[in-house]
């Protein structure tokens, strides 16, 4: 196991998952033994808290803080178990980091999930995986069966008195399923329409029971933290936020890829490791954390990438999977793709998102075709201003959609206007259609 790459270091290049036996040889399940045999749930939780593990699903919320909301056994009103859910929906444009963790190192996730469930007093673990990740679904399912057979899952795990079940739930498709409360609705067999928070899932989650939802990558970190200690985990990072990060670099780079690197690694470094900017070779801008993060420009390529630093720069670290645009790529075109995506993926519950986004998407398409009008930009700005701030829509999908549009308008306003004025995409005119 490479010290710098605890999460992906053991993954095989062809992503063939390890059998349980192979995994054990690599030190697998040692952390589970340690956690369940020598630590109380509170000690596991405290260790994760000390490690400063922030959620990797987009919002960067401290994992341990979320876990602390979970009631102890017998303390929750009502009857039934508590749940721990692993979010493997990963449908955000530009995000492809959870795929490798699900496909290639499923046992790592199981380990983390067992420990997380132990710490949150959950007795059932559900891994929701998007439909398109069929290998992930198969590998995960097989690994769970192995773990169950070996007694890591089931009744009285390792004699600790802790009972836990785990299974995979494939999603039937839709980006909004990734939103944690929508995901819970989907698991209940309903439309994946988000729920109001509060009540938070820990108060009233799956079937009204206490529930925690964490991202695949977040959960995958847990066994390393328990196995090696909080200090070790924090030391992996270059910043205050603990651990490594499974970054993704895609778009206009020569070798788009997943890169596990210390938290706080800069965009410049990552782009370098991804073979450098493709196309003209000159960076125009990038979205640091997937399709819902705001644009940053070359001047910001040297800030340490973590939740706090990226937020300070006016964007969002999100999933940590960056989309890179070179000089010959048009941000208006990218935003148009994003808007079409978010409009299509809206759950249809709240008005701004359901009816506002299709309008924005129509305008973006029109701008790109060179048929835009100045008044159209007014509508775009209005939409960002009105629907962008948190709380204006029922969930954060619309807010996410507004970040690239809002930062795009702020940073590349001239370019939007040029599309209108010149009746075409000036970049496409100068460089040809969006092909590398």
């Amino acid at each position: 196991m490479s010290a710098e790459q605890p999460l992906t270091g053991r993954a095989r290049p062809d992503r063939r998952p390890h059998t349980l036996k192979e995994w054990r040889k690599l030190g697998g399940y040692d952390a589970v033994e340690r956690g369940l045999k020598t630590m109380t749930p509170e000690e596991v939780l405290d260790t994760v808290a000390a490690a400063n593990l922030n959620g990797r699903g987009g919002a960067g919320f401290p994992a341990a803080t979320k876990w602390r909301f979970m009631p102890k056994p017998g303390e929750a009103p009502g009857d039934g178990p508590s749940y721990f859910i692993v979010n493997g929906d990963e449908m955000e444009p530009g995000a492809f980091k959870d795929r490798i963790l699900l496909e290639a190192v499923p046992h790592q996730l199981i380990e983390g999930a067992i420990l997380a469930a132990y710490a949150t007093h959950a007795s059932e673990i559900i891994v929701l995986i998007r439909d398109a990740y069929r290998d992930a679904i198969a590998n995960m399912t097989r690994a769970i069966a192995e773990a169950e057979k070996a007694g890591y899952l089931g009744k009285n795990v390792l004699g600790s008195g802790f009972d836990v079940k785990m299974w995979v739930h494939p999603s039937a498709g839709r980006y909004i399923v990734g939103e944690e409360t929508a995901l819970i609705e989907a698991l209940e067999g309903k439309r994946a329409v988000p729920r109001k928070r509060p009540p938070f899932p820990a108060q009233s989650g799956l079937w009204g029971r206490p529930t925690t939802v964490n991202n695949v990558e977040t959960v995958s970190c847990v066994s390393h933290i328990v196995g090696n200690g909080a200090q070790w985990f924090r030391a992996l990072s270059k910043t205050e936020e603990g651990g490594t990060k499974v970054f993704g670099v895609s778009g206009r780079v020569n070798k788009p890829q997943i890169i596990e690197a210390p938290m706080g690694t800069t965009a410049a470094e990552l782009i370098e490791r991804a073979g450098g900017v493709s196309g003209t070779g000159v960076l125009r801008c990038f979205q640091p954390g997937g399709g819902a993060s705001g644009f940053l420009e070359p001047a910001e390529a040297d800030i340490p990438l973590d939740f706090a630093h990226v937020a300070k720069a006016g964007s969002m670290f999100g999933t940590g999977t960056m989309i890179v645009l070179d000089e010959s790529a048009c941000p208006v075109g990218v935003i148009a793709r994003h808007m079409a995506f978010y409009a299509r993926e809206s759950c249809g519950w709240c008005t701004p998102c359901r009816d506002g986004l299709p309008w924005v998407a129509e305008i973006m398409a029109r701008l790109e075709r060179g048929e835009g009008r100045m008044e159209d930009l007014e509508v775009l700005r209005d939409t960002v201003e009105i629907a962008g701030p948190r709380g204006r829509t029922f969930c954060d999908l619309m807010g996410g959609a507004m970040s690239p549009l809002g930062t795009g308008l702020a940073r590349f306003g001239d370019l939007f206007e040029a599309h209108v004025r010149e009746g075409c995409c000036p970049i496409a005119r100068d460089y040809g259609r969006a092909a590398a």
Partner: protein, 158 residues
């Protein structure tokens, strides 16, 4: 054609799992689709009867999720990613080439029933952009180029 015996028992079994008939609706639809490629009215109605839910209730979820097909699809379903990373790597040229070759647009099936073309958001293949997923097992393909689409379409598309 009604549901096979094993599908029927799989559906009723699903009901005993978690959350009862309501929670089993989606899973039933997925199982039906896995076997038949899509969910016909007849199969949907049969599943509703088996689960003791109304057709409206099951249609509610069937039509919400994008990967439950309520219309017949071709033997091979081609899901082309229209996400940003793929776009930046020439997805639209690939799309145009596929459309031209098959003579259909997104959401359509070739008259011979061989192919259905659908656009999908990011398939988590940004490192293989432009990417797509193909067939019932959702095999990831990419990077695609207009020149290499024959490979994904297979021999018959020529």
């Amino acid at each position: 054609m009604s549901l096979s015996k094993h599908l029927r028992s799989a559906i009723t079994e699903e009901m005993d799992h978690h959350g009862g008939p309501r929670a089993a609706m989606l899973e039933s639809l997925r199982m039906i689709q896995q076997e038949h490629g899509w969910v016909s009215d007849e199969h949907l109605e049969e599943a509703a009867t088996l689960l003791g839910v109304t057709t409206a209730e099951i249609e509610d979820v069937a039509t919400f999720y994008s990967l439950i097909f309520r219309q017949p699809v071709g033997e091979k379903v081609i899901l082309l990613c229209d996400g940003a990373s793929c776009y930046l790597n020439g997805a639209e040229d690939v799309r145009d080439a596929v459309m031209k070759r098959l003579g259909i647009g997104f959401g359509q099936t070739t008259p011979d029933g061989k192919y259905t073309l659908i656009n999908i958001c990011c398939v988590g293949g940004c490192d293989h952009a432009p990417a797509g997923v193909i067939g019932r097992n959702r095999k990831l393909v990419g990077p695609l180029t207009p020149e290499t689409i024959d490979e994904i379409l297979g021999e018959d598309a020529k």
